[in-house]
């Protein structure tokens, strides 16, 4: 019954978002139609939320008469993973996609900002059509509410790799990011249709871009952290096509974030901002296609079904085709001369956009090239981490050199000398870090450069705070506290990049590893620690059986116990590794239990030991970036409320603002 209600509600939502699309697009000149479109958007959100809740309840009650539950759940699975299992499969995750898209549709109607009526109505309309496309695909080709007959006695269980707290949160965050980019896309298409971009439009773009970017940052970081502790050897980024699929929209969102700043403040770069919004959403759809079509095999490709791949490709072509056609047709009318000197805040933000766009293009071609070659010549080639290390990393390093300088530049016309006045201490420290990397720790050129870039970004970000603190008065504690939230938002994000870079460089260059065959009772010395394998026991979990090693690790006079495991999940017929990590202030001591083997002395186990120095900086850096994005959203909301209060408490939204120049 609940399942049928869910199916009915999602069909109802389909009708509602279709109406939202048509009414929104027609409503640009007729306020009555636009209001109806808004009502449809909100009703569609309610329907999809209930439909999704219905699916959740099917998973919670292990109702195996539904194919999606039977294939991806198990009665013995812990409750949290029954819940998270709702989106740990193709059908459920597509319904989540639709739900998030409908959520943004409704949010667009609630948070209108100062958007002119025409822009607002059309944006709501386009968002409705985006949801419509996703919902048609979901219901026609991957309905989560399909029944099974006969009903199986037990379910097939969720891929045990996904039965993990970080991975329970990873998909919703990523989807918030992917689908969040549909809101800038809708606003961009609305601007093209209206032939109008103004300050209010650029202002309206920013919160959505920030939501998408912050969520993507958080989602990617969680995925990376998960890979670090779950895949058994402490890697955190693999340049796997599926990772790239989420990284490309992140790069585009990051560029869009910065270009909207220019468009909002100066009115320039409007057409580029629109193009980026289209490309960003296109890359998000491409990501969905790559992950869902089975064109790539990985833990993310739940179902290999060519029909689904083709359908996503059709949706992708529709969105991108319509977007780019509109852009080619209407963008020339939006061109406004961008007045700024070659050295200015604007020019640095253009540099940022150029660099991020080239980076995204490089990742794109590296990801798609093997697919293209296979399609054209039938040959299989690999494009792996070495390609990206050679092409992407130097470009990023060059781009990061400019990052601390940009915020110190004046708008319209800046001077490098003025920026250097604030950043020379950071520069000196970075130089020292280069020297340290080259000579003291013997890391070589790239390690020295990487450490220098990391220190430069971190301290350079703080230099901006120092400058703002001293602006217009002495550096008192009260004035420090009074610094605007927006300053902290940007500082956190930029400093996060520095922290991340330091962690990535140090871990890559200086991690230690050792694999040993140990019998119970054996000891080894590694990375300053003395490790003894005490015993290996069998243990039973709720839905798995584990082989658990117990090791004593002595380090600096204290002894800690570590218990890495290998698990076997009979439901899914799949093994996993659960590593043991003993963190210290400066590094993680990481132990993974490997295969057992018979030797003349009895049963031995391959155990891999790693020391990952400063690896936590990678995740703390990413967390700082996401925090920066979140703070920026709060700062925007506060500013808008202040502006609204200034205009009178119950004042209507500001009238469509005049062009910025």
């Amino acid at each position: 019954m609940i399942g049928e209600a869910g199916a009915f509600l999602s069909i109802l939502a389909l009708v509602l978002v279709a109406a939202q699309g048509v009414l929104g697009l027609l409503g640009h000149a007729r306020p009555g139609l636009a209001a109806a479109a808004a009502a449809c958007a909100q009703a569609a959100l309610a329907c999809l939320a209930l439909a999704f809740a219905a699916l959740v309840s099917l998973f919670l009650s292990s109702d195996f008469s539904f194919a999606v539950v039977a294939n991806n759940s198990h009665t013995a699975k812990p409750l949290i993973y029954k819940f998270a299992g709702t989106w740990g499969n193709h059908e459920g995750s597509m319904l989540l996609w639709c739900l998030v898209s409908a959520l943004f549709g409704a949010l667009l109607t609630w948070f209108r900002g100062g958007l002119s009526h025409g822009l607002w109505s059309r944006a709501v309309g386009v968002q409705g059509l985006v949801t419509l496309g996703a919902l048609v695909y979901t219901l026609a080709l991957s309905s989560p509410f399909a029944r099974l007959d006969p009903v199986p006695y037990q379910g097939g269980d969720l891929n045990p790799l996904l039965q993990d707290p970080a991975l329970a949160l990873h998909p919703p965050l990523l989807y918030l990011g992917y689908v969040g980019l549909s809101a800038p896309f809708s606003l961009a298409l609305a601007a093209l249709m209206e032939g109008e971009t103004n300050t209010a439009w650029a202002k309206a773009l920013r919160p959505w871009t920030l939501v998408a970017w912050s969520s993507l940052t958080g989602g990617i970081a969680l995925g990376s952290y998960w890979a670090y502790y779950e895949l058994g050897w402490g890697g955190w980024w693999f340049w796997d096509p599926v990772e790239n699929a989420s990284f490309m929209p992140w790069l585009a969102a990051c560029a869009l974030l910065h270009s909207t700043i220019v468009t909002e403040r100066r009115g320039s770069l409007a057409s580029w901002t629109i193009l980026l919004a289209i490309i960003g959403f296109a890359l998000a759809l491409l990501g969905t296609f790559l992950v869902r079509s089975g064109a790539l095999t990985s833990v993310h490709a739940f179902a290999v079904d060519p029909a689904r791949g083709t359908a996503v490709l059709v949706l992708f072509s529709l969105a991108v085709g319509i977007g780019l056609t509109l852009f080619a047709w209407r963008a020339p009318t939006l061109m406004r001369p961008a007045g700024f000197a070659a050295v200015s805040r604007e020019s640095f933000l253009v540099l940022n956009n150029l660099g991020l766009a080239i980076a995204a293009g490089t990742v794109l071609i590296g990801t798609l090239y093997p697919l293209l070659i296979e399609a054209v010549t039938g040959e299989l080639i690999s494009v792996g981490p070495p390609f990206f290390d050679i092409s992407f990393s130097p470009l990023m390093a060059a781009l990061l050199l400019a990052m601390p300088i940009a915020p110190l530049m004046a708008w319209r016309k800046g001077a490098l000398s003025a920026a250097l006045r604030w950043t020379w201490p950071a520069g000196l420290a970075a130089g020292a870090a280069v020297g340290l990397g080259l000579f003291a720790v013997g890391g070589g050129f790239w390690v020295g450069l990487g450490l220098g870039v990391g220190v430069w970004c971190l301290l350079g970000a703080l230099a901006y705070v120092w400058k703002r603190w001293g602006q217009g008065g002495p550096r008192t504690f009260a004035r420090f506290l009074a610094l605007p939230l927006a300053v902290w938002a940007m500082t956190a994000a930029h400093a996060g990049v520095g922290v991340f870079t330091l962690g990535a460089v140090i871990d890559t260059a200086f991690k230690l590893e050792r694999a040993e065959r140990l019998h119970p009772g054996d000891s080894i010395d590694f990375a300053g620690r003395s490790v003894r394998l005490v015993e290996v026991v069998e243990a039973e979990g709720p839905n798995y059986i584990a082989t658990r090693a117990r090791l004593e690790v002595s380090y600096q006079g204290t002894t800690a116990l570590a218990a890495p495991e290998r698990r076997f999940y009979p439901g899914a017929n799949q093994p996993t590794t659960e590593v043991a990590i003993l963190p210290t202030l400066t590094s993680d001591f990481y132990i993974a239990l490997g295969e057992a083997a018979q030797t003349p002395r009895g049963t031995a186990f391959t155990i891999r030991f790693y020391r990952h120095p400063f690896v936590r900086l990678i995740f703390w850096g990413a967390a700082l970036m996401a925090l920066g994005g979140a703070l920026a959203i709060v700062a925007l909301a506060l500013r808008r409320r202040r502006e609204a209060m200034g205009a009178g408490f119950f004042a209507a939204p500001a009238p469509a603002a005049a062009p910025a120049e």
Binding site: A357, G361, I365, L380, S382, A410, M490, P600
Partner: protein, 129 residues
């Protein structure tokens, strides 16, 4: 030697005695793809065949092969798929040229957009973001 003892030896890699040669082996094994794993170089894989391939990297180096010859050895046996850093060949020219093409294209676009604009006397403008 029992079968168990043979397995014991097959599952570990004997490092090369010369640290310079061992460093070369480690560089190479980061760029060779494990043929049974999802997307892992043999340096990180725990699969038996990866261990075997790592040993063969060392055997080839000990036999006096250059890095390029070791890579060619694996390409002949497993195809170009096994090389995580694809060789520069007519098939991959577009791949390797793309980043440079993007860079040049972007620079050209910026230069052409800025050219032909009258030099205005811009005034600095301070303020929040």
């Amino acid at each position: 030697m029992s079968l168990a003892a043979a397995l014991f030896f097959a599952a570990t890699v004997t490092p090369l005695e010369d640290p310079a040669l061992e460093a070369r082996a480690q560089d190479i094994e980061r760029e060779i793809r494990c043929v049974v794993c999802e997307n892992e170089p043999i340096s990180q894989s725990t699969a038996d065949i990866a261990t075997d391939m790592r040993q063969r990297v060392r055997d080839r180096i000990a036999a006096g092969d250059s890095n390029a010859e070791v890579r060619a050895y694996f390409r002949e046996r497993y195809g170009a798929f096994v090389l995580l850093r694809p060789d520069i060949s007519p098939m991959t020219w577009a791949l390797w040229a793309a980043p440079f093409a993007f860079l040049l294209g972007g620079a050209a676009a910026v230069v052409s957009l800025r050219r032909g604009r009258p030099a205005e006397p811009y005034e600095p403008e301070e303020g929040e973001r």
